[in-house]
């Protein structure tokens, strides 16, 4: 397909790899965090790690919306479905996220909960219109890319007079998560998680623009290069990061100029600002409570807020003791460091959230990377 295939040319990838190898200073190490799960997936799928010289290392970030959703949030959705008899609609990946008592939305569905997978927030309005006698709750998750569609759904429900529709809002914000990582002990006490720069998200940046990253580049002296999701985009972004580090620069650069502008999608930003406001704190799996890192529904639309409508109270629940998702989401550990990886925890039967979505570091490594860990031995 146009605008896809050209950015997957293996020969060009090798040429960029040769440039990176030539320009990376062998006397130093380069660690770059790809914040976004889309990049984690691309890096695993196209073997980008193997194309890089040994002193250039990629650290997976927490930008996988399904992975950072804590158990307590899924529990709320299950409660609404099983105890309150509501129809719960959500995106496909969310269905298999492990919750309390060995449940997930998928298992709650098997117990009789009316839980439905939707492709788009607009589909939920159709479910609500078709079931006027039932409560219909949209478990809305995701970063800045899925928030505008949720805003449109709420405005659509208002326009259509759908009194039975509400949203369990779990939308989170990219910039505050990056700040949180930069402020974490692992990063500040240089050594446990060294980060020399960030590969900035593709689709999130289409919506928010490149300007919100200027703060990190300046305040924390960390280069940010926004990159597209194709392998050549990621390779070029890594090359640009190596150059910034070599030159001692810390700037926001945009590799994904074909879709990202400095100001982003203003129409989408206006909709989000109309319907949502900042939450003072939100729990992320792996990162814990992060101040001002998520959105809630504005009081003007309170009747569409499932938390208020059902009087839901959030209760934090710790992850399974053996699960390393938290450390993996902070970039402290790699999937293969987890004892559950590939044995008890697989994409078919995930124990932790990073194994659920294809964007999760564990699922990506399971699908594409796990055989690379095994040395090839001649027969």
């Amino acid at each position: 397909m146009k605008y896809i295939d050209e950015y997957r040319d293996g020969e060009a990838a090798r040429r960029i790899a040769a440039r990176i190898a030539a320009e990376a200073d062998p006397a130093r190490r380069y660690s770059f965090m790809e914040f976004c799960g889309g990049h984690t997936h691309a890096i695993a799928r196209y073997g980008i790690g193997e194309l890089l010289p040994p002193n250039v290392r990629m650290v997976h970030g927490p930008g996988c919306p399904v992975c950072v959703l804590p158990i307590g949030r899924i529990d709320l959705a299950i409660d609404v479905a099983l105890s309150r008899g509501a129809i719960v609609c959500t995106y496909g990946d969310t269905m298999r996220v492990p919750a309390s008592q060995g449940l997930s939305l998928m298992k709650a569905k098997a117990r009789g909960g009316d839980i439905r997978m939707v492709y788009s927030a607009a589909d939920v309005l159709k479910v609500a219109a078709a079931n006027p006698a039932r409560e219909v709750v949209f478990l809305a998750i995701g970063f800045e890319t899925t928030t505008p569609p949720t805003a449109l759904a709420i405005l659509g429900a208002e326009k259509q007079g759908l009194a039975n529709f509400s949203v369990l809002c779990c939308h989170v914000l990219t910039p505050s998560a990056i700040t949180h990582i930069l402020e974490s002990a692992e990063v500040r006490e240089y050594g446990t998680v060294p980060i020399d720069g960030f590969v900035g998200p593709a689709h999130v940046s289409i919506v928010i623009g490149s300007a919100p990253y200027e703060h990190f580049a300046e305040e924390y002296a960390k280069p940010v290069v926004i990159a597209g999701f194709e392998p050549l985009d990621v390779m070029q972004a890594i090359w640009m990061l190596v150059r910034q580090v070599n030159d001692g620069r810390a700037e926001v650069e945009n590799q994904f100029t074909r879709a990202v502008t400095r100001e982003g999608n203003l129409a989408a930003q206006r909709l989000v600002a109309q319907v949502f406001e900042l939450r003072s704190s939100f729990e992320w799996r792996g990162l814990g409570e992060v101040p001002y890192s998520a959105l809630k529904i504005r009081p003007a639309y309170a009747r569409f807020d499932a938390e208020q409508r059902f009087g839901l109270a959030y209760r934090p629940v710790p992850d399974h003791k053996q699960c390393e998702c938290g450390a993996i989401l902070r970039g402290v550990k790699k999937p293969a460091d987890c004892r559950l990886f590939g044995t008890v925890c697989t994409p078919d039967s995930p124990m932790g959230s990073c194994m659920v979505s294809s964007e999760g570091a564990c699922a990506a490594h399971y699908s594409y990377g796990r055989f690379r860990d095994i040395p090839v031995v001649a027969a």
């Binding site: 040319d9 440039r19 899925t146 879709a259 129409a267």
Partner: protein, 65 residues
């Protein structure tokens, strides 16, 4: 994007698969434009000139050893 429908709706062609999408977030999109689709919503447009410029950068790497 291959067809504009009623309201904000449109049809996109993904390598021959036609799919309905909403243009509510990119009302300026026209038939023939390439849109970036996320959960059933077009969230942005591909700028053909910038796309060509990025590809030129890749091609230049070949010319300069």
């Amino acid at each position: 994007m291959v067809e504009k429908l009623e309201g904000d709706q449109a049809v996109v062609d993904l390598s021959g698969v036609r799919k309905p999408v909403s243009l509510a977030l990119v009302p300026e999109a026209q038939v023939g434009d390439y849109v970036i689709v996320h959960v059933g919503f077009a969230i942005g447009l591909v700028d053909p000139e910038e796309a060509a410029r990025t590809l030129e950068l890749f091609a230049e790497l070949e010319a300069k050893p």
